[in-house]
């Protein structure tokens, strides 16, 4: 078992390792352990940018042992919501951490000067980052670090771009060019600590006693991943396959959710983007290679026959947030804005929702070019690309506020009714019905991935009582605490069902029954909810943006009363936990 925890104190440039078998035996790893480490290491009330603010990276028992177990959980105080931040990333993060021999890494303190941290198996090095501080393109940062450091192929380079340095509260952390700790502002927390990047170099293994059963279950999982239909969606068009059906069913948020169908949806569809796929890439130890990379070929402005070729990874979520939400008419328009968002290392979803709000606020006369500097209008990609730069550089009061998210911006400038944030986190790309929206509100990360309400909406014809729907969503979220404690990719949830999970854990020395696993999921869920409460979460204060009642969903228009009843029920759950 991976039971060692690496602590790094960036105030004193010290590190130490503790063996915490107790924690891993009780809580598996990933989310389960991260919640406990947050409780142990941080006052829940302090500010996200406080020196004592703590970041936890945690992996679990299945990382580096089985295919599709390729995620790392990051936990922190979110500067965007002021509450619990949790974000998961793929790439090589989880395998590098596990192969280096750690179950978790805890980062505390604040460096006096810019640094990047190199974790090289047993050792930790604090490198001077003064020269690379200020390089805004996260890709360039990584190229420089990659040339400086050893560990090609066995390392992960997690870094921030300009957005993290400038403390944009939805700055992300990018790893292996195309994967992100995307949501809730981890990039800004690193920026506040003067940490430009964290490199993890891991070469190692865990010895398996029962080789035969390990090989058998490994091969079963590998076969399911490569031969069955379980991963087909991700293996083929990827999540971008959602664009067309959501548009047809009227579940696709368009132009700040003024509408749910879009005449240019075809241009932004998975099918359309597939025409310009340049290559496919995989996270470590995953045969699916779901990372779809599009080629954007742009001519030089002033010279004929010269082109720059940009390789950009896309998924449904950025297509929604920077595509349909901003009224982009072509895939090239969408990719041009995505390029800026990726370079500065911003969360694509929040950035898109912020810009969509600002565009509608402009239309309604709440703000003008005096605030936005460029004229924001749906479909104008050049203006949006400029605005992304302003969010990072914050040349005026408006952009300083927009860099804090749409909740804050609408408090200052008005337009709350169309400011699409839930629990302070900007909306994901599904206006599919009650389950999606209730899911965003009650999910402990306010993420569509917490409980997959969007999927419930697409499967049911009529809704049960609000309380029953809340219970259903909570149950799903509780199981997902197990997935994120193992830590497997949520895309592989169709493979990692309780039976397979129990079988996979056995050869690596963990004996657990299916019912115990389910109970543990529930236990982790409530631990996380209690931590969220300690950080100030109050379910009674959740705001529902009026806009979601005005725009058609696949289930027609939504009634406020139903969601209110669901929230009342959930508030009781929170109160009693």
């Amino acid at each position: 078992m991976l039971t060692k925890i690496l602590y790094i104190d960036t105030s004193k440039y010290k590190y130490w390792v503790e063996d915490r078998k107790d924690l891993f035996e009780e809580w598996l790893g990933g989310t389960g352990v991260a919640v406990q480490l947050m409780k142990e290491n941080m006052d829940p009330k302090i500010d996200a940018f406080d020196e004592e603010s703590t970041i936890v990276f945690a992996v679990g028992p299945l990382n580096s042992a089985y295919p599709l177990a390729s995620k790392t959980v990051a936990m922190f105080k979110s500067p965007l919501t002021g509450n619990l931040g949790e974000s998961h990333a793929g790439g090589r993060t989880s395998t590098s951490i596990a192969n280096a021999g750690y179950g978790a890494i805890v980062i505390k303190g604040k460096s006096k000067k810019p640094i990047y941290i190199v974790i090289d198996n047993d050792k930790v090095y604090f490198r001077d980052a003064r020269v690379i501080w200020g390089i805004e393109d996260s890709l360039i940062v990584a190229r420089i670090i990659a040339e400086n450091e050893r560990g090609r192929g066995i390392r992960s380079i997690m870094r921030i771009g300009g957005a993290g340095e400038k403390l944009v509260r939805y700055a992300c952390v990018t790893t292996e060019t195309y994967r992100h700790f995307g949501r809730l502002g981890l990039g800004a927390v690193l920026g506040s600590k003067n940490i430009k990047a964290i490199v993890v170099i891991g070469r190692g293994c865990r010895k398996i006693k029962d080789r035969k059963s390990y090989k058998e279950i490994y091969d079963e999982i590998f076969k399911l991943a490569t031969k069955s239909d379980a991963m087909k969606k991700y293996h083929l068009l990827g999540t971008a396959v959602n664009v067309k059906p959501l548009n047809e069913k009227k579940g696709l948020p368009v132009m700040n959710l003024k509408s749910t169908s879009f005449e240019y949806a075809e241009n932004l569809s998975g099918e359309s983007l597939a025409e310009i796929i340049g290559r496919r890439i995989a996270c470590a130890h995953c045969p699916v290679a779901c990372i779809h990379i599009a080629v954007l070929r742009l001519p030089y402005e002033n010279e004929p026959y010269f082109y720059k070729t940009l390789m950009l990874s896309y998924d449904y979520e950025p297509i929604y947030s920077l595509g349909t939400m901003l009224g982009m008419k072509t895939r090239e328009d969408f990719l041009k804005v995505l390029y800026k968002v990726e370079a500065y290392a911003l969360d694509a979803m929040t950035t898109g929702v912020c810009l969509a709000w600002a565009t509608e606020a402009t239309e309604k006369g709440l703000i003008s070019e005096k605030e936005t500097i460029v004229k924001l209008e749906f479909g104008n990609s050049d203006a949006y690309a400029e605005a992304v730069k302003y969010i990072v550089h914050q040349p005026n009061e408006f952009y300083r506020i927009l860099a804090q998210g749409v909740e804050k911006a609408s408090e200052v400038y008005g337009g709350k009714e169309f400011a699409l944030a839930f629990g302070g986190n900007e909306m994901p790309g599904y206006h599919t019905g009650y389950a999606a929206h209730i899911g965003y509100l009650i999910g402990l990360r306010h993420s569509h991935l917490d409980n997959a309400g969007y999927s419930v909406d697409q499967k049911i014809d009529s809704y049960p009582k609000p309380e029953e729907l809340v219970q259903k969503l909570m149950k799903e979220e509780q199981w997902r605490q197990i997935l994120s404690s193992l830590v497997v990719c949520f895309f592989a949830r169709g493979i990692y069902k309780p039976e397979i999970v129990c079988k996979a854990l056995k050869p690596i020395g963990i004996e657990i029954e299916e019912n115990e696993l389910n109970k543990l999921g529930e236990k982790i869920y409530f631990e996380k909810l209690r931590l969220k409460k300690a950080m100030g979460f109050d379910a009674k204060k959740l705001r529902i943006p009026e806009r979601i009642f005005e725009t058609e969903t696949p289930h027609g228009k939504l009634e406020k009363e139903y969601i209110n009843q669901a929230l009342e029920y959930f508030a009781k759950v929170v109160e009693n936990c």
């Binding site: 192969n99 066995i154 190692g204 290559r279």
Partner: protein, 143 residues
Amino acid sequence: MKNKRLIIKDIEKCVGCGICMYACSKRKGEAGIDSSGILAVSLSGFERGATVIFCRACLDAPCAQVCPTGAMRVREGGGVIYNENDCIGCGNCIDACTIHAIFRRRDGKPAVCIHCGYCAKYCPHGVLAYEEVEPEEFRKVIV
């Protein structure tokens, strides 16, 4: 004379998943990559793609020539035979390989591909194969 060796079928198809690395160590009873004799890397960043690095099965292997104990010996038909028990972990072989295809395990000893072909069975995208080939034929890389 033809011998069975691990070969590259089409390097441009590599997605960098590294399943080959995990297969290699799994064969030795490890969950991880410590003993893996193959490495999946990006080409100075994943936007430029990925590739795998492993022993080219030299007929006149520099790594074997610099081994002071005879732990690394030339294998007939190309490549090496590695006897761990004779190895003092000096790392000469690692330094001698021009394409850096010998890796250092956590204990300091080398990890090298012995062309058993086990990883090829797991390659999801047809990059690797295990086939009978003439020594000079498969070393051309473009096949």
